[in-house]
């Protein structure tokens, strides 16, 4: 096999190797070997896909979008009007971000995003979803008792703030624009982006105060 050097796991395993692997590990290796040998997948493409979501596409993308919106009223208007195009202008587009909508937190409304039916999530701006986003407790509770879900994240909002939950049931993907923290007026875009956490763009967190960047 051409990929022998980089993918020894595709080859037949020695007994001592096999015995060290969990049943799931063995099952996945069997499937990967089979699909590769049949020519359906390119092993180099698999590695590239993993690398892309481990190092290239993640919540720093979304943080740049939010920071730009905080600083630039025209970009903010565009983002609220046509998020897909505004986000693409920063170079973020494609898989699980084909149809983007940005929703903005205000003093009256806090937005929270969930997918109760599976794990729909805006990959193009946030990368892969965290485990909790895909978990049964989050998907069950977010639409019914979001305030107690927020408590699990250490977030407590005043009663005067209403929580709006967006259930991603189709192919539209939602990005929350958190409120810009007080005391951040002097910061440039890069410093602002450091205040934008992944969870704040899902709605389970708030942007960080200046001086405590991620």
């Amino acid at each position: 096999m051409a990929d022998h050097d980089t993918h020894p796991e595709h080859d037949h395993l020695h007994d001592h190797e096999r015995s060290e692997l969990s049943p799931l590990e063995l099952r996945v290796r069997a499937l990967e070997t089979l699909l590769t040998d049949k020519g359906y997948v390119d092993p180099a493409a698999l590695d590239l896909l993993i690398d892309t979501y481990q190092t290239k596409i993640g919540p720093r993308n979304g943080a740049r979008v939010v920071a730009r919106a905080w600083r630039n009223p025209e970009f903010r208007r565009w983002l609220l009007q046509d998020a897909t195009a505004a986000i693409a202008s920063l170079g973020f587009s494609g898989r699980q971000g084909e149809h983007m909508v940005a929703v903005e937190n205000t003093p009256e409304v806090h937005n929270l995003v969930v997918c109760t039916l599976c794990s729909c999530y805006p990959w193009a701006v946030l990368g892969l979803p965290p485990t909790w986003y895909k978990s049964a407790p989050y998907r069950s509770r977010a639409v019914r008792e979001p305030r107690s879900v927020l408590q699990d994240f250490g977030v407590s909002l005043p009663e005067s703030v209403g929580i709006r939950v967006w259930d991603s049931t189709a192919e539209v993907r939602y990005l929350v624009i958190p409120r810009r923290p007080d005391g951040s007026a002097h910061l440039g875009e890069a410093d602002l982006a450091n205040l934008v956490t992944r969870d704040s763009m899902i709605g389970t967190g708030l942007a960080l105060p200046p001086g405590s960047g991620v």
């Binding site: 799931l24 996945v28 290796r29 499937l31 990967e32 089979l34 699909l35 040998d37 049949k38 359906y40 997948v41 390119d42 493409a45 698999l46 590695d47 590239l48 896909l49 993993i50 892309t52 481990q54 993640g58 919540p59 587009s93 494609g94 898989r95 699980q96 084909e98 149809h99 409304v109 929270l112 109760t116 039916l117 599976c118 485990t131 909790w132 978990s135 049964a136 407790p137 069950s140 509770r141 639409v143 019914r144 979001p146 305030r147 107690s148 699990d152 994240f153 009663e159 209403g162 929580i163 709006r164 939950v165 967006w166 259930d167 991603s168 049931t169 192919e171 539209v172 956490t197 389970t204």
Partner: protein, 221 residues
């Protein structure tokens, strides 16, 4: 046999806490990224649609007992079998014994970046005018269809307001059944907490919840 989704969790009583997780904690076992990549690569072949994938996952009988990547793994095995890409003996042995079937596309390493950047947009040209307008009161269908659907159980038979129109999108219900795209107008419909969860409204409740609903899910209120 009636269709049953084990993934429709919205509003279920679940006493378990949500466990926050640090950014970067993407995988919890070394096989998980392989399953992610295999799922994406096989999805890219065009042997099945994303709606087929969701249907395959949500109808796994042991859905509730599996972790998310275990769900993806089981569904990928199932789709590979059902599409004829592999057979059960091959799957058991992890060895190719039959000729490969023709696939519409193969995702090669050289095209990964471009394919991800392009994604799979589902917006389609409108062939008929939209039935509902922003601000209109609507009622969602109450029946449970006997196939994959994207109207969650908690939002069935409920009155809401059309808040946004998203254009015409591939209809998940049709595509999951292998009936083609049958694109339909898609709307964001918003419901109050009391409409969804009744009175009295708990202090932990949302002010409102929205779903994205294709036109066939809706009737005028």
């Amino acid at each position: 046999m009636s269709y049953r989704s084990n993934a429709d969790l919205g509003g279920r009583a679940d006493p378990r806490p949500v466990l926050p997780e640090a950014v970067g904690e993407l995988f919890h076992a070394s096989w998980e990224p392989r399953v992610l990549a295999l799922t994406l690569a096989m999805g890219a072949t065009g042997l099945w649609s994303i709606d087929h994938s969701r249907a395959a996952r949500e109808t796994l009988p042991n859905y509730a007992d599996l972790t998310y990547y275990e769900i993806w793994l089981a569904a990928l095995e199932r789709l590979s079998l059902e599409s004829g890409a592999v057979d059960a003996t091959e799957l058991r042995q992890g060895q190719a014994l039959q000729r490969a079937i023709p696939i519409p596309r193969r995702l090669d390493a050289a095209s990964v970046a471009a394919v991800l950047a392009r994604g799979s947009p589902v917006a389609r040209p409108a062939s008929q005018p939209q039935r509902f307008t922003v601000g209109q009161a609507v009622r969602t269908r109450a029946d449970q269809p006997n196939h994959h659907t994207r109207l969650p159980a908690y939002a069935r038979g409920k009155s809401g307001i059309v808040e946004r129109t998203h254009g015409v999108h591939v209809f998940a219900d049709a595509q999951a059944q292998g009936l083609g795209e049958q694109p339909q107008w898609l709307y964001t419909v918003v419901f109050t907490a009391q409409e969804l969860w009744g009175q009295p409204v708990a202090p932990t409740a949302p002010r409102s919840v929205s779903v994205d609903a294709w036109e066939p899910y809706l009737e005028p209120a």
